[in-house]
Amino acid sequence: MVDKPTFDSEAGSLGASPDEVQFRFREDEPVDHGTVTVDACCDQTNATAVRIEPGDDTRQLLPFLDRLALIEVNFPTFADGRGYSAARILREAGYIGELRAVGDVLVDQLSHMRRCGFDAFAPDRPLDEEAAQRAFATWDNVYQNAADARRTIPELRHE
């Protein structure tokens, strides 16, 4: 079962970040300043928030995960699915900070994004609250291993 997301009504206060965080599955305080590009993050040793664009190589960030508290993954269009791999790669590498999907994030992608490790969502256009809650709860069970550490159907069959 998925946990219930908290609705962040203070989303406008995220400093330089232009995005509104509509759903957040974390208890810690959101980072209160803007993000830098992947290149800038690799050059700049003190950045704690970074934004990944679809063409970026996520693995460039792996040496810096310890100091990062927020990674935004931009979806300029929902049809560009590179961000799903980016998210899993970060979680597989042990990243525990906030992983936020931003951009063209629609209701019908939420459950898959959640499985890939996203724990915050800042859609360009705010989503219908009820439809989103339904979407987060779509799958009682899942077939594959992913970043959410849920027991998979094949595992449940053989426990």
């Binding site: 049809a79 699915g81 590179r82 799903y84 898959h112 069970n141 594959q144 159907i153």
Partner: protein
């Protein structure tokens, strides 16, 4: 055959409900067509020239009679009494209303079927050898591996918005009856020198406007790493496949541009990483799945036939395939009656096939990628009774692998992308060759017709291929020769300038005449072409 457990059923039911909600939002107008499109496509619903088209998945082409009857009922209730079996071993319905789509999916889920991922830029229905579990020459039944991959690829969270659609095929014999190397991933189950069973991976094949034969990227993947290796192949593609140009987005372009070696290197790196992460399902799962595909209770019986009826003997020679048990054969029901629409079956014909499968084939059927239906396990003793029943139902065409057994895509009669009609052309060719008796003289000859460069009719892989092109607003047909989708895989070459509809029929006549004049011994059309090359055909066509 595989049967759903409560988990499989719940997954499909959840999807039906999800789609019902999406369709409702679309009908109410809260979802735009642009937003709805990828969602309906994930559920097999296309908007075509005249109506919605629904494509239903038949996993690795295997189904039972209860499922076939449900397909027949859908044809009668929601369509115009027909279904169309496709080159992906699926079935599609061409006259569907959006209002009915969720109800159809609910009807399907009651017989453990669905339309999940039969379209869209995701991993599509897994295809396989239509004689799987029956063929005399297979190493093992490939379907348990296909089923394992079906579950892994269903609702895969990372691979639902790939650069382009993705097709996987699994076979387990040297003979390739499933066009394995023309898939994005082709897997051949093999035995290595140590006697272990494993998977050989070919990646980057495909048809479309840039046809490619998949290179082998790994000769042996251990069975308990199969899903992990597939996941690595997909992840490299999802990250680096081209997204700037729809026509360059298939994995074949990535493999081609990187080179097979570099692509393989990246896959191996990702594979090593994913082995550490641990994404493979427990090995016991494969064993669980295998039990569903255990042999039915074959019994010894007569191994020879009374061939005194020449019509029956002809059908046996053309339409049956050697079985692993010597008292059985696999029988192929041709959906290519002379002058018919390739791959079409009426609701009533589906019910007949279902009933015969129950009676004579342990309740099992297969769909072939050449758009026919297989009864995989028929006792030789029952063959005459089966043939008699098929013949009465108009399903006894004795033309398997002949020029009449064409693949033709829907073309301009249904498809919004088409340049030219495929179906009427197929009908005219089969009528002509059927009437003249030339079909019999030609023997094995694979003719494939696509209505546009997307190549759904596999024209690149035809011994003779026909491609519809648009020439200044007029339908025009290009002819190509020498393709094969089998283990001797090759891509057909264009003969030269295109033809009108009448002209291309004459052209087929001409090239088959060249073959009949030049063939030596038992050569098939393809063998003669390979021996003498394009020139003699060109001369006959254009001089």
């Amino acid at each position: 055959m595989y049967a759903y457990d409560k988990y499989d059923q719940a997954m499909v039911d959840a999807r039906v409900e999800e789609f019902r909600d999406q369709a409702r939002r679309r009908l109410e107008g809260t979802l735009s067509e642009e937003q709805f499109k990828p969602l309906r496509l994930m559920n097999g619903l296309y908007l075509q020239l005249h109506a919605y088209m629904l494509r239903v998945a038949i996993p690795y082409g295997t189904l039972n009679s209860r499922q076939m009857i449900a397909l027949a009922d859908i044809a009668d209730k929601y369509d115009r009494g027909y279904g169309h079996f496709t080159t992906r071993q699926n079935i599609q319905y061409n006259w569907i209303k959006l209002e009915d789509a969720a109800d159809i999916l609910a009807d399907l889920s009651r017989v453990e079927m669905h339309a999940i991922q039969t379209s869209g830029n995701c991993i599509r229905n897994i295809s396989s050898d239509h004689f799987a579990g029956a063929a005399h020459d297979e190493l093992v039944d490939p379907r348990p591996y296909a089923e394992l991959l079906r579950q892994w690829s269903s609702f895969h969270p990372e691979f639902t918005y790939l650069p382009r659609k993705f097709k996987i095929c699994v076979i387990a014999s040297e003979k390739d009856r499933a066009a394995m190397r023309l898939h994005d991933i082709g897997i051949q189950i093999v035995r290595n020198d140590n006697g272990e069973i494993g998977a050989r991976f070919y990646v980057g094949g495909g048809m479309g406007r840039t046809p490619m034969i998949a290179p082998m990227i790994r000769s042996f993947v251990a069975l308990d790493q199969l899903v992990t290796y597939a996941e690595a192949c997909l992840r490299v593609y999802n990250r680096y496949g081209r997204r700037d140009n729809k026509y360059k987005a298939r994995i074949k372009i990535l493999v081609h541009e990187l080179g097979a070696e570099e692509y393989t290197r990246q896959v191996e790196e990702e594979f090593a990483h994913l082995l550490d992460v641990g994404v493979e399902p427990p090995r016991a799962e494969l064993e669980r799945i295998k039990e569903f595909f255990a042999d039915p209770a074959f019994e010894d019986g007569p191994k020879t036939l009374d061939r005194s009826d020449p019509d029956f003997a002809l059908w046996v020679d053309r339409n049956t395939h050697r079985h692993k048990h010597d008292s059985y054969v696999s029988a192929v029901i041709s959906l290519k009656p002379v002058g018919g629409i390739p791959g079409d079956a009426s609701g009533d014909q589906m019910r007949v096939m279902a009933q015969l499968a129950e009676q004579y084939s342990f309740d099992e059927m297969r769909i072939t990628h050449t758009q026919n239906v297989v009864l995989p396990h028929v006792r030789i003793a029952d063959l005459h009774a089966l043939w008699t029943a098929l013949d009465q139902a108009g399903l006894g065409a004795p033309n398997l692998d002949t020029i009449e057994d064409m693949i033709a895509c829907p073309g301009l009669d249904y498809c919004s992308l088409a340049n030219a009609r495929s179906i009427p052309l197929a009908q005219r060719i089969s009528e002509r060759f059927g009437a003249s008796g030339k079909t019999a003289k030609l023997g094995e000859l694979k003719l494939k017709i696509s209505g546009c460069i997307n190549a759904c009719g596999h024209h690149h892989a035809g011994h003779i291929g026909i491609l519809g092109v648009d020439r200044k607003g007029v339908e025009n047909y290009q002819l190509s020769l020498g393709g094969s989708e089998a283990e001797d895989v090759s891509l057909a070459k264009i003969t030269g300038p295109g033809f009108t509809e009448n002209g291309v029929i004459e052209a087929v006549e001409t090239v088959t005449d060249v073959y009949l004049q030049r063939r030596e011994g038992e050569e098939r059309f393809l063998d003669t072409y390979r021996r003498i090359g394009m020139e003699p055909f060109k001369e006959a066509l254009y001089d």
